[in-house]
Symmetry: C2
Amino acid sequence: MTDYHATPPDALRTLPTPLALLDARRMQRNIDAMQARIDGLGVKLRPHVKTGKAIEIVRRLRAAGASGVTVSTLREAQACFADGVTDILYAVGIAAVKLERVRALREQGCALKILCDNEATARAIVEHGRAHRHRFEVWLEIDTDGHRAGLDPQGDALLAVARVLHEGGATVGGVMTHAGASYELHDDEALRAIAETERAGCVRAAERLRETGIACPNVSVGSTPTALSAGTLSGVTEVRAGVYVFQDLVMANVGVATFDDIALSVLTTVIGHQREKGWALIDAGWMALSRDRGTQGQAHDYGYGQVCALDGRPMHGYTVVAANQEHGIIARADAADADIERHLPVGTTLRILPNHACATAAQFDEYVVLDGDTLTRWPRFNGW
Amino acid sequence: MTDYHATPPDALRTLPTPLALLDARRMQRNIDAMQARIDGLGVKLRPHVKTGKAIEIVRRLRAAGASGVTVSTLREAQACFADGVTDILYAVGIAAVKLERVRALREQGCALKILCDNEATARAIVEHGRAHRHRFEVWLEIDTDGHRAGLDPQGDALLAVARVLHEGGATVGGVMTHAGASYELHDDEALRAIAETERAGCVRAAERLRETGIACPNVSVGSTPTALSAGTLSGVTEVRAGVYVFQDLVMANVGVATFDDIALSVLTTVIGHQREKGWALIDAGWMALSRDRGTQGQAHDYGYGQVCALDGRPMHGYTVVAANQEHGIIARADAADADIERHLPVGTTLRILPNHACATAAQFDEYVVLDGDTLTRWPRFNGW
């Protein structure tokens, strides 16, 4: 469904650029679609707030039916808890140096769950718990695609780590996995296959724990591509996903989004040209767009982003081909546009769709939020 | 000169990671060395504050002898002006939509100079000036290496743009160029050659303006590599440079810095391993390190950064080979370290040297500043 603004609010032309423009209607559509899909699969959705990092977005996720949230930093956890969210999974392997902040949140009533995939960390958790008479809830990270951290669902280490925690007085609350390798795929069959590998590995890990007498009530899987591709989620209790809230060009290449789904763009102004090269210079460089080149190895390389008109309409063929700190260079990928000065005159306001929404959004302290004809601002909670 | 801390402050081991660690002594050495060099060449140094973006750094640059500052955003200009700096060059081609903020600063007493490289922008500046009875000071951007924006120093457009400004009541205060292409070089001779091209082109542009009766008092050149390589600066009035304040791995590859000059690092904690792959997982992903892969095409590819021990000593061969949002993967470049768990145990605190200091620093709201044995915090002025 397209939703180009035939008459974008005048205010958009007068705001100093660059800025992070968030289309609230596209975002709401993405939120509703994922919630409906995961509801339909009969499991809970625990959205990842690392993409948006704004409390207004967390509220919309909850209003749509989310069961708790996933966070990537303790600052996100603090912001969500301050707004009334208690069921929070901190989905990065914990470091002992952070246990004090975790415990402080839990002692205030936040049901914050932490992640662990090794015995050394498990012992540190147990020790800290004993020293402060606190029972942490720990989920075990499972590796189902070899791309990052996690325990082999078939290995001995899984049981050894669980035993340290369980016998040491911590609650082993669940297992979780993230098939990040799904970002490298782009056809339905391969996506369904990795979603099934993700599901089966995580369920197998839970079963092995249960065979040893550890309840392991939660089985958590997810990534935006697998969440949008899984055929069955038998044995799974919840799905996590994050980037679907904004969508981006990487997801378009994976095949789980279209340009019209992408809710985040960088608003920028044309500040000059190099006519003989077919370049338009814009005031959005990598500081605004981020250095993320996630589409570089994919089917379609969008440089530092896809150029769209102010109303959101894509200008096919025009991408940001290079970026300095505060300069972007727009050009056609196929051949130099000899008439670039007429097509994109100085002063033109453009939107740039991001390669990777998480990275681009992170370059900003706030969003300018476009909801129909109204503009508002939502602050982000950056940092750790 | 090496300055590893045999006994780094205990507090460094207890701070929640990741964080941006700034070694104030290394930074001061870099500041003093560049100031002495440019003083020795008989011109002014107008350092770029886009790298550090912290008022404490601006104060040290001024104390060392800087003449004004260069900024990449109006927010930087506002922060510097609020601290008493009036001589400020905003070194990104201006967009008309920003003229009101520029004028507001100038009317408060800030001698803010703006940049222009085309007739359309020149007309917008003149119009805004007429409408508000304000005389802007405009510098013309000159292209000396074809890598970005700017006017050809030999072309007709240079004179046409200057004429629009001059006749329209704006002050043409100078010409400036930035040989960003110098970042791609790595031998002394090539660096000296591009420094000379930068100098000669910019001086030529000023001479042509003067021949038409426009005074053009300022001739501004610079980039860290050319500033550290220029043999003569005849005709130049000032040098701009920024990244030298922190230095980074890109500059090490260019050959104008060593590891021991690099003042910025990301402090991180080992959170796990994948033993059979030779991986150590750390809690600094691209959100902390940035997505900048500036060393990818250089002589030595440092992945997402060079690993150092807590005391600053480089662990040669170990780099961050991959990064997710909040996870980094450390491995040896040559062969898997079968003993990675013993070499980098869970809980180890490490420093990661950045590819590109400007990009990595921008991922943080503040620095933790190490000055001998004391630790303090300096906030950054991010955003636009």
